[in-house]
């Protein structure tokens, strides 16, 4: 199943909404999108609510985005996906390391 990545620009942050499966095949797409959105150093909200599946490849994309945000003193926030997806963050304790928000609009610069 292909991955759909939608990017919308709000007043304060860019929202990257992901829909579909995030695995070895599709994670590069997400990485590219995130890389492009982050290029100008703006805050990014990664909305995982529509992600049906995610494995460590997806995690790698998220970690890379987080590293970029830190490097540019910007910000990466995530909206948690369904429990099966969020479990990956819980198992790796990334749910404590990354910023999770309930609503994309919560992010202010």
């Amino acid at each position: 199943m292909p991955l759909a990545v939608r990017v919308s620009y709000g007043s304060s942050a860019a929202v990257v909404a992901v829909e579909g499966e995030l695995d070895l095949a599709t994670a590069p797409d997400l990485e590219r999108s995130l890389g492009a959105v982050q290029r100008d150093g703006r805050p990014v909200v990664l909305d995982l609510r529509q992600v049906s599946f995610m494995d460590s490849s997806g995690l790698r994309a998220v970690l890379a985005a987080d590293a970029r945000a830190r490097a540019s003193s910007s910000r990466l926030a995530l909206v948690a996906g369904p429990p099966s997806v969020h479990r990956v963050f819980e198992l790796t304790l990334l749910d404590r390391r990354l910023e999770f928000v309930d609503d994309p609009a919560q992010v202010v610069p």
Binding site: D23, F53, S56, R60, L91, T92, L94
Partner: protein, 824 residues
């Protein structure tokens, strides 16, 4: 005024009609008080100035009808002497007598210059000649002397002034009483006092001093240019008693002469310049011609009405013409002569004619010749500075090399792109063969050497798909003879290219090997030119590529061969890379296998089973691993891990992780500490975005079972299958490893009773997808429950089978499983 013969020629160049009625510098000559007459070498006057007109009483036109004899009085001997002098010496000076129109004569002081074929006579009226005075009465003499405009004075041989006429008063500014009785040297400027004594010496010797030019000083100190004529005066006994001087202020004349000299010099300079300009023009023309000839561009110039005006040799060379064919040929004929050598004659001729129809048009295009050469034509209207159209110039440049390079570059770029885009080398080589058609070949085939030594036709490309099939069948029916002296087999055997620029009928026959059927096919294929280049990579010949020109009628040369070799070299590398890739694939799997424990150790009271399955294709080996080892004190360690990523690097990291765990386990007892050491080691060696998850379990046998201490670094929590079928996840989540310096890791203790099993797994188990839905923990737990009471091997089998059966798609992740069951 002295004009040399050389200058006169210069004159003639500037004034093409020197014998015309008007002299050069006529206006200037007209301002002279002196008579200027110019005669040709027959003695006929060809020019005169206004002073001559005035003095002689003729009109200018009349003078031009005269002969020297009409004007110069005196005996024919005089004239002859004059002529002789003129021939012998360029300048003649002397006294002559001229005859006016009314017949009267007058004495004159003349100078003649030889100027080429012309004699220029400059005459000044000198009044009565000294010689003429002899015999005149004293009264007459006195009257003449007094009335003369010239200074006339007499002096003793010692230089004492005796008489001083009015002319002398006027010229020198001294009145008679001021000078008479004084020494004549008073008239000389200080630097010429010597001259006076010299003159007096000469006079005493009886010498006459004529036409002496010098300088004298006037009463008011002005220095004047003087013309002097000094004659001794003899008394009745013939003894020299004194001397008479006629002096004339010629300052003005000198000035005019100086001006004339200046004008002459200027003229001479102008002429020199003119000549040098002309020389330069001629030089430039020569230079241009040389450049045109030396030019790498062919140049053809046509007049506005299409006449062929000029061309250089390079043009002939590029068009394949001999100089003779250009004789009297029209441009239309020229085009027709070109036709047979053109690849697309109608198209090219049409384009050229279209440009001719529009005289204002510029055009740039390329003309392809049958012999493979490509000539770029740039045609542009020619205009002079006023914008007047005076023709059309066409420049022809051989761009064969350029185009070849361009084509080659494009072909190589495309081929390279193909070569890296796919690992399916057969498809890739087919693509490359088709890229060569039709720019580089009508036919292109790729043959590879099979491991068994036979040559297999791997790719055929031709513009006509029908012929592609044909070629395949042909090869099947008539396999390549591996012992052939020439051709494909030879190239593969020797690794050396073959170029058959023009395939002769004889060669075709020998290539057909005497088989009339093959020969017929060859003939039908119209094979004209062939290149066969080996596919050599890393010193091994893997096959060969053939490039064939057939119906297009073109032929290959050494340059084409170089390109083909380049292409073949790259294709060979791709072919070899594919082979290496396959090998690397195997190596990676071997590596992974080798990194996993070969056989599980035997542990008292515990039965073990492990499964490992690499997902995906070939080289994309994953980084999953498991390990079991003794840690001392009767304890064992179980580890399952997953290095995020694929390929040899992941496999290598996995090996390193496993090794680190083993090493750390010797030092550290607590599983969380072991993982911490691993985390630090990974941080040091892992590149960005690489991470690792590990579940590490320390197991120690107790009195009634096994105590597990579990630590998870980002890994799915291990499962425990109780003897009764209950399934629980044990341990607590911890931070994944290799990303953060500070990690949260914990140790959880779980006791297993006999019949209980610990199941360690990677996410390849739970993440297996079917229609977007993962296998998940629920199904996993269910499989475990169903396996309760069974030996670990069967539990492992059940899990693997369930996962594989569940997946509708090929597994994308590796799978590693370790089952440890406590037995009595």
């Amino acid at each position: 005024m002295a004009i040399s013969g050389r200058d006169q020629r210069a004159f003639e160049e500037v004034h093409p009609s020197p014998a015309g009625p008007r002299l050069p510098y006529q206006a200037l000559l007209d301002t002279l008080p002196d008579v200027v007459l110019v005669a040709d070498d027959h003695g006929r006057y060809v020019g005169a100035n206004s002073a001559a007109v005035k003095l002689l009483g003729y009109t200018e036109q009349e003078i031009l009808l005269l002969h020297v004899e009409d004007v110069v009085a005196g005996s024919p001997e005089t004239l002859e002497a004059l002529g002789r002098d003129l021939v012998d010496a360029p300048v003649w000076r002397g006294q002559i007598e001229l005859r006016r129109k009314d017949g009267s004569t007058f004495g004159a002081e003349g100078r003649a210059y030889r100027v080429g074929d012309l004699a220029v006579t400059v005459i000044r009226e000198t009044g009565p000649r000294i010689g003429g005075l002899v015999g005149s009465t004293p009264a007459e003499l006195a009257a003449i002397v007094e009335s003369s405009n010239d200074a006339i004075f007499s002096k003793t041989l010692d230089g004492i002034l005796l008489s001083w006429n009015r002319g002398a008063e006027r010229i020198y500014g001294y009145r008679a009483e001021e000078v008479i009785g004084r020494h004549v040297s008073m008239l000389a400027p200080p630097e010429r006092k010597e001259e006076i004594s010299d003159i007096l010496r000469r006079l005493r010797r009886g010498e006459e001093i004529r036409d002496f030019r010098t300088r004298r000083v006037t009463r008011d100190g002005r220095i004047r240019e003087m013309w002097l004529s000094i004659s001794p005066i003899r008394d009745a006994t013939g003894t020299i008693a004194g001397a008479a001087t006629i002096a004339r202020d010629v300052t003005e004349q000198a000035r005019i002469e100086a001006e004339l000299q200046l004008a002459r010099e200027r003229l001479s300079r102008d002429i020199t310049e003119l000549k040098s300009t002309e020389r330069e023009l001629r030089f430039r023309k020569l230079l241009l011609e040389a450049q045109t000839e030396a030019s790498d561009e062919g140049i053809l110039v046509m007049s506005p009405d299409g006449e062929l005006m000029s061309w250089n040799n390079r043009f002939l060379e590029l068009m394949g013409f001999t100089p003779q064919v250009m004789d009297g040929v029209s441009r239309a004929e020229l085009l027709e002569m070109l036709r047979p050598s053109l690849l697309d004659p109608d198209g090219v001729l049409d384009r050229i004619r279209r440009v001719w129809e529009r005289p204002e048009a510029e055009a740039r295009d390329q003309i392809a010749f049958v012999n493979g050469r490509v000539v770029e034509r740039f045609s542009t209207p020619l205009r002079d500075v006023d914008g007047h159209l005076y023709g059309r110039a066409s420049f022809f440049r051989d761009v064969t090399e350029e185009r070849r390079r361009e084509l080659a570059q494009r072909f190589l770029a495309e081929a390279s792109r193909e070569l890296v885009s796919s690992l399916d080398y057969e498809a890739t080589l087919e693509r490359i063969a088709s890229l060569a058609v039709p720019q580089l070949a009508d036919w292109c085939t790729v043959d590879v050497l099979e491991p068994g030594g036979e040559v297999r036709l791997l790719a055929v490309a031709h513009v006509d798909p029908e012929k592609v099939r044909w070629a395949g069948e042909l090869r099947k029916r008539f396999p390549t003879d591996p012992t052939a002296e020439q051709g494909l087999a030879n190239v593969i055997r020797t690794g050396r290219s073959e170029l058959h620029a023009v395939v002769s009928p004889q060669r075709l026959e020998s290539a057909a090997g005497g088989d009339p059927e093959i020969l017929e096919i060859f003939r039908e294929l119209r094979i004209r030119s062939v290149m066969i280049v080996p596919l050599v990579a890393r010193g091994r010949t893997l096959g060969a590529m053939q490039f064939v020109w057939a119906e297009s009628g073109r032929s290959y040369d050494e340059d084409d061969l170089r390109l083909a070799e380049d292409v073949a070299g790259r294709a060979a590398l791709a072919l070899d890379n594919a082979r290496l890739y396959r090998e690397r694939d195997q190596i990676a799997q071997t590596l992974q296998q080798s990194l996993l424990p070969g056989a599980l150790p035997t542990i008292e009271g515990i039965r073990l089973a492990a499964r490992y399955r690499a997902a995906g294709r070939g080289v994309e080996v994953g980084g999953d691993f498991y390990d079991v080892f003794e840690v001392g004190g009767g304890a064992h360690a179980f580890a399952v891990g997953d290095v995020c990523g694929k390929g040899p690097k992941a496999a290598a990291l996995m090996g390193a992780a496993r090794h680190t765990i083993r090493t750390a386990a010797i030092q550290e007892r607590r599983p969380s500490e072991v993982l911490r050491v691993l985390n630090t080691a990974l941080l040091q060696r892992m590149a960005d975005r690489w991470f690792c998850t590990v579940a590490y379990v320390r197991a120690r046998r107790g009195a009634d079972g096994v105590r597990l201490t579990i630590s998870c670094g980002g890994h799915p929590l291990p499962a425990v299958l109780r003897a009764g079928g209950e399934v629980e996840l044990v341990g607590r989540p911890g931070t994944l490893l290799g990303v953060f310096a500070d990690v949260e890791l914990s140790d959880a203790v779980v006791d297993l009773r006999p019949g209980d099993s610990l199941v360690l797994y990677t996410d390849g188990v739970t993440d297996q997808l079917r229609d977007g839905e993962e296998f998940g923990l629920e199904r996993f737990a269910e499989v475990l429950r169903d396996s309760a009471g069974r030996p670990p091997d069967e539990i492992a089998n059940a899990i693997e089978e369930a996962v594989v059966a569940y997946g509708s798609e090929e597994p994308t992740d590796d799978l590693a499983l370790l089952v440890a069951k406590v037995v009595d």
